[in-house]
């Protein structure tokens, strides 16, 4: 399967290399044009460099019904999807969740049940706020492994991918450039700043870029909120709940709002976009993942808004269950694209720096 999609992407990349009209859209084309041949590793690298902005599809004079049948965004998306699946252990899990939104929903429901059981069995019914539902220690004993194990799996995958991709010597400049490229998502700007061709055929729009940034920064703020809370808990002896004007709350609420808006936006765009220009077989899995993130953020916000009402327990179950599922699914869902993308961007910067010196 992998070799088939790589084969197809290679066929298309060779045509692009003879054409070069799309050079200015993104980082993929300069990387293509600096080569003459595309081995499997290179195709996978280029696939992970592609942000699926689709500019090169609508601009292409060789799309179907032309016999060259160019559809580079889809060809690269298929390779990319496959690479996340194939570099991650165990493959059977990653195949299942990458492709199926239903599997993600089921896993989330399973997460809810685990949480309900945990509360039933370990429920503390003492302490304040949500620790009144589930004690701090019980939470830690559930979430620490549920967080660390996936991180370990991801680390192993990325290491494998990085090694396989012969990414070259990394200089400091490459790292800063990679971070800035990821932070600004300049590859979604279309080369001219007007954005990509996603939700309305060849019309350029920055909506997807903004929505993706809201999602990314929302996620990072939520993550920061949790991290700060952990530090405050252990080192400052300041357990939750926190007042509104505290770092965990400020990060958490603003992050939750951003994440909520960003994921809702991405899901909406995904509904409007042409499925055949992405990895069509993974559409459900990708949608499931975006919606799971939405549930995580929306339930988190709800918990903040209605945490002192009778709904607390139900909301807590939903939120923690979704977070639990999200953590465990990280290595097996679209979440992986972020890590592979960073690796590909870094390799690309390494190459550019060595080309220019």
């Amino acid at each position: 399967m992998l070799s088939e999609s790589i084969q197809e992407a290679r066929r298309q990349l060779e045509i692009c290399n003879a054409c070069r009209y799309c050079e200015g859209y993104c980082s993929v084309f300069p990387a293509v044009h600096s080569r003459r041949a595309f081995d499997d590793v290179t195709v996978t690298h280029l696939a992970n460099l592609c942000h699926n902005c689709r500019g090169c599809y609508y601009a292409c004079q060789y799309t179907e019904p032309h016999e060259f049948a160019l559809n580079l965004p889809a060809a690269l998306a298929n390779v990319r999807q496959q690479s996340w699946q194939d570099y991650t252990w165990p493959i059977s899990l990653s195949r299942a969740f990458h492709r199926s939104g239903v599997a993600i929903v089921l896993a989330t429901i399973a997460g809810l049940i685990v949480l309900m059981l945990a509360i039933h069995q370990l429920g503390s019914w003492q302490g304040e706020g949500f620790y009144g539902v589930l004690s701090h220690n019980a939470m830690v004993s559930i979430f620490l492994p549920a967080f660390l194990l996936p991180i370990l799996v991801i680390a192993v995958s990325i290491r494998k991918y990085w090694r396989a991709s012969h990414a070259g010597h990394t200089r400091g400049a490459a790292i800063t450039e990679t971070i800035s490229s990821a932070a600004t998502m300049n590859n979604l700007a279309g080369g001219h700043g007007e954005g990509c061709n996603f939700e309305d055929e060849d019309r350029y729009s920055n909506t997807r870029r903004w929505m993706h940034q809201a999602t990314l920064y929302g996620f990072l703020l939520c993550f920061a909120s949790t991290s700060v809370a952990i530090l405050m808990h252990y080192f400052l002896n300041m357990p939750a709940p926190y007042p509104l004007f505290s770092l965990p709350k400020l990060f958490g609420v603003s992050g939750g709002l951003l994440l909520c808006a960003g994921t809702a936006g991405l899901a909406y765009l995904k509904l409007k976009a042409d499925r055949n220009l992405g990895a069509a077989s993974a559409w459900g899995g990708e949608m499931g993942f975006v919606l799971l993130l939405f549930v995580v953020s929306a339930s988190g916000l709800a918990l903040y808004g209605f945490g002192d009402t009778a709904a607390l327990q139900a909301l807590l179950v939903i939120h923690l269950g979704a977070v639990f599922a999200f953590f465990l699914l990280m290595p097996y869902t679209k979440m992986m694209h972020g890590f592979f993308r960073l690796a590909a961007l870094l390799k690309d910067r390494n190459e550019r720096l060595s080309r220019s010196t």
Binding site: I15, N17, Y21, C22, G24, A59, Y62, P65, H66, D202
Partner: protein
């Protein structure tokens, strides 16, 4: 059907520039495009840049490119066969085109890797001609221009110096409209292979058409038959040598082969027939279409060895590979003994010297006929590679004679309500030869003029 002020025949660059200009000037416009939507945009969808005069660096263009230098470049390629007034008009107006195009949704990019020689003179479209065409369609529709796809015009009825009716097919029905003004922008006739064969001779059946299959010259012929004046040599077409495996139509840019200067080229009898190293490739690629067209069966074979494989831009089809000349001959179906003889004669005529792939290095054969006067290195390091070559037609030269207002010239007098733009009148400026990027310049300049004149006429 709603009556439009202006009907524009064709849906490429020239047509769209005319439509947008006319609509912005308040006219109601109908575009009749014979292609279905995925193939809209004619040859314009295959382009990559346009040639643009400029006094100082602007947008993606470096340095300066003056009117005089531009005009001299044009004189060189046309051998003086040009209308100076129209040519200078196109050149001068090209500098206004760039900002106009940007304001109308076209994005530019620096010259593509491998095309550095054009960085000063030609502005490249980001995404190529299809993205330009897409931007124009989107804008035209937002201005209220109505577009009909799969609507080939079959006849334009003329009475005196007026167009009185335009006939076209649409959704299986024969339709007619009687607009106040008409702009023809429907390209040349190169996709009509029978016409090509009548003009060029029977060998034209082996020509490939690099661009759209929809430019069949229907309206051109129809109007010329009604006494409209023509310019341009009716027997000539612009043809380059392309990969023989290219599709019959629409193969576009990726079928070009840039390896001739580093090769020897033989015909089907394994004989060389022209100096492969006469000049740098951008100055010679356009003559090879004709050279190959004059060989038996209109086919050529480029042969290189491993030394040269990475010296030129990759092309879409992989070369035929062999470890010996004999094997290569067999795979290319060439007479093996003769090929070996041709290659060893060539190799023996090569001299020692410094090889320089990107400039005229004077590394020439001695005592060989025809000679190879640059980049002559023996073909001796396996593996050996071969490509077939066929003539690939870009466009035909026959077109309408227009004046500086793009007005079409009737039998007796200028037409009152008929204008032409783009390839279909390019013969007014390009009598022969071709200057890379000039086709889009002519289309943009005269498309805008035609749109302006037609919309002023209907006011």
């Amino acid at each position: 059907m709603q009556q439009h002020d202006i009907v524009i025949i064709g849906g490429g660059n020239a047509a769209l520039c005319a439509a947008i200009t006319a609509a912005e000037n308040g006219a109601s416009v109908l575009i009749l495009e014979s292609a279905p939507k995925p193939y809209r945009g004619g040859n314009s969808r295959h382009t990559r840049n346009f040639r643009c005069m400029h006094e100082a660096p602007v947008s993606v263009l470096v340095d300066a490119y003056s009117e005089q230098e531009y005009f001299e470049d044009l004189l060189k390629v046309t051998g003086g066969n040009t209308d100076e007034e129209l040519a200078r008009l196109a050149i001068r107006e090209s500098q206004n085109c760039l900002p106009w195009m940007q304001a109308h949704g076209v994005h530019f990019q620096p010259s593509l890797s491998g095309t550095l020689s054009l960085a000063r003179t030609n502005a490249f479209f980001l995404g190529g001609g299809k993205s330009l065409v897409n931007a124009y369609y989107r804008l035209a529709e937002s201005l209220g221009v109505e577009v009909r796809y799969e609507a080939p015009v079959t006849h334009v009825e003329i009475e005196g110096s007026q167009v009185i009716r335009v006939d076209f097919d649409y959704q299986g029905e024969a339709c007619s409209v009687s607009p106040k003004a008409v702009v023809v922008a429907s390209g040349g006739f190169q996709a009509d292979r029978e016409w090509l064969a009548r003009a060029w001779g029977p060998s034209a059946k082996n020509f490939l058409i690099r661009g759209t299959p929809f430019n069949r010259g229907v309206v051109l012929k129809d109007l010329l038959d009604q006494g409209i004046q023509s310019v341009g040599d009716p027997t000539q077409c612009h043809a380059v040598a392309i990969d023989g495996r290219a599709p019959l139509y629409d193969g576009g840019i990726v079928t070009r082969l840039d390896c001739v200067p580093f090769s020897i080229v033989v015909n089907k009898n394994a004989e060389r027939f022209y100096n492969e190293g006469e000049d740098v490739w951008p100055k010679r690629y356009a003559i090879w279409g004709r050279l190959v067209a004059n060989q038996p069966d209109q086919v050529g074979y480029v042969i290189i060895d491993s030394k040269s494989l990475e010296l030129f831009m990759p092309s879409v089809f992989p070369p035929t590979v062999a470890d010996s000349i004999e094997e290569l001959a067999e795979k290319l179906e060439l007479p093996a003994a003769k090929l070996q003889q041709t290659i060893s004669e060539f190799n023996n005529a090569c001299a020692e010297g410094k090889f320089h792939p990107t400039e005229l290095d004077g590394l020439s054969t001695t005592g060989l006929e025809p000679p190879k006067t640059n980049w002559a290195r023996p073909i001796c390091d396996p593996p050996f590679y071969g490509y077939t070559l066929r003539p690939g037609v870009t466009f035909t030269y026959l077109g309408f004679k227009v004046d500086k207002n793009a007005r079409v010239q009737g039998a007796e007098a200028p037409m009152e309500n008929l204008w032409a733009a783009g390839e279909t009148m390019a013969g007014s400026i390009l009598g022969q030869g071709y200057l890379a990027g000039f086709g889009m310049t002519i289309g943009t300049v005269f498309g805008r003029i035609a749109g302006r004149e037609a919309s002023n006429h209907v006011k």
